[in-house]
Point group: C2
Chain length 370, copies 2
């Protein structure tokens, strides 16, 4: 396999290092805008050099962002090259374009590292689908949020301090909004649901609530009730309809999700026969992520393409009713079941209704009670 | 694929149910000593009927026990049939016979459900080995022990009560010694180490300490120090040598292992690139176990044989020094670091030395401090 590697940052460099000693996979050309030289690959600043190289059969996109990643990936596919990417935003955003294109052109398209980084999550979903129907996917899919929430819970830090610490350690970006507002997790659960259920979720209907409004006082409140807050994604089939959402969720102390430390991920599927299976590991980082990119190359060598057939467009239905911890906002759309100091716990209210209310009350903080 | 299914108990029946609707896998004959009839398969009490059926290409051994499982599996292999089994004792005990035989005859031999039941652990080890060296394997591999220890920790039960409850729920057998003395885990970690490191471990050198001597007072003692007791298996490479052992281990509250509830398993590998990856799920049970048996059939259809090449015989070296909680026994072979009521915590002592001492002091209870 001859690789054209787009990008030489955290993941790209990791891929280059991992395949250095392999005979079956060779990085032939690297697209990198910086002036570097590499012992085993040609470096170019011009994507056309990769596109027009007929010896390159597979393009690894490790640039991140939507543009020009999308244009490059699409052009590479039009030129008949297989694609491996860890870019969840790219795949979730252009799912209805890229996956049918791969199918129609008979190309391999894989993105295992896009969800769970070092966890082979999507390939486990693929394996699972060989034998069973999947009823539910989700869990802790964002290491930045988990690091912040874990620091707040274990060390009693306020949100701002925990975020600063995460940034200092490289677990959060200078502008952390994609992570802390749940957008990264939103991409990941949509992509996971598409593959697990064999559908194409209408993204507009999938709500995401993030963690940026949480306070140390909230966390103290949870502790007093034996609960730990985690950002949890959910994708499930309810009466044949897909329910998909992202929200802070209060987990009983001692449950597996509550014990996930630092920037780790814990992603779960519930299947027809296997019951619950969960996967724990590094959700990001150079070598864990690059590890699954190279695994995808291995799978392409074995003839494996995308994880499941492209499926019909479906609208989500988030009618499920849960109790929510709510602090702030006004005209709560549910009756109050309990007062927890400066916050309340609602009577059961549908996920769609509370997220609609949250849009009108963006300063409020909500967390579902698991 | 045409299957000869040996045994129609918990796992065998599960396999039959799961493949009922599949076109690619068909159970042709079932070996069952009871008088049953099945709509889609011939039932026989005579193994020769399966052995001599040339249309059967794959034998699933779901009888358990060493004999006649071993003789049947060997005869089936001599007759050129592929093997799928969930029998960890069989594979670990006859590893040096069965795995080279499968290699020499070009047969597929798979046993994913033998470790972790519903968790695709061995197939994940196989996948991992494509890209990276594995440094360490192990974790919570026995649901019976985890159920007992979890009940003692969460409910304050004594060992006998917790065992009785596990038996009533079908999580422990009438004679639970294989599980509670760590023998089941011992088989599983030896098998996992063989596959992960590409070796054949000399089993005689692998010590196992079980949980049958633990008391409610021990558990209280651990709680007071913020610790939770779990039966943990370890297989790792230390300076190129294999260190493999099974022992009760004290885990800090809040760590992922400490949070594993009920009869679940949590099995971990640490790899060169992926860092830590852990797998959580049902370690036993009809459908979870049968699920991975059927996954193995799928993999055989794709041409996959055993998980790693049969490797050289190696002697374990358990020189690593750990601190141990010790209650009972005499002439402790290590200095006492701390007194914990009726027990002590030792200064660091090698794993091999404490297990040698435990053999002379079988009434003592030991637990490593993680």
């Amino acid at each position: 396999m001859k690789i054209g590697l787009l990008g030489f940052g955290v993941v790209g460099r990791g891929v280059y290092d991992i395949v250095a000693d392999r005979d079956d996979i060779q990085v032939a050309k690297v697209l990198c805008l910086e002036d570097i030289t590499l012992p085993d690959a040609e470096v170019t600043k011009n994507f056309q050099d990769i596109l027009n190289d007929d010896t390159i059969d597979t393009v690894i996109e490790a640039m991140g962002g939507l543009h020009p990643a999308y244009e490059f990936v699409r052009a590479a596919m039009e030129a008949g090259k297989n694609i491996v990417t860890s870019n969840k935003a790219l795949v979730a955003t252009f799912y209805d374009d890229l996956i049918p294109l791969a199918e129609s052109k008979g190309l391999k398209f894989r993105c295992t590292a896009a969800v769970g980084g070092g966890i082979g999550w999507l390939s486990e979903v693929e394996r699972s689908r060989r034998i069973q129907k999947i009823h539910k996917v989700g869990g802790i899919m964002n290491g930045t949020c988990n690091y912040i929430l874990d620091s707040m819970t274990r060390l009693g830090l306020d949100y701002g301090e925990a975020l600063k610490q995460a940034q200092a350690l490289g677990y959060a970006e200078a502008n952390p909004s994609t992570d802390v507002e749940g957008i990264d997790t939103w991409h990941k659960v949509i992509l996971s649901s598409n593959i697990a259920f064999g559908v194409s979720i209408d993204k507009a209907g999938v709500p995401a609530a993030g963690i940026s409004r949480i306070t140390a006082a909230d966390v103290e409140n949870f502790k007093a009730h034996g609960l730990v807050c985690k950002l949890i994604s959910t994708g499930k089939l309810v009466d044949g309809k897909c329910s998909v959402y992202v929200q802070p969720t209060l987990i009983p102390q001692g449950d597996p999700e509550a014990a996930v430390p630092s920037n780790y991920n814990l992603i779960t599927l519930i299947g027809q026969w296997s019951d619950r299976m969960s996967f724990y590991g590094q959700g990001a980082g150079r070598y864990p992520t690059a590890y699954n990119v190279v695994q995808d190359c291995q799978d392409i060598l074995l003839g494996r393409g995308f994880y499941s057939p492209y499926g019909e467009k479906v609208t989500v239905c988030n009618d499920e009713k849960l109790c929510f911890y709510v602090r702030g906002g006004k005209d709560l759309p549910a009756a109050v079941a309990e007062n927890w100091g400066s916050a309340v716990v609602t009577e059961p209210i549908s996920v769609s209704a509370i997220h609609a209310w949250l849009k009108e009350n963006p300063d409020a903080f909500i967390a579902a009670i698991a």
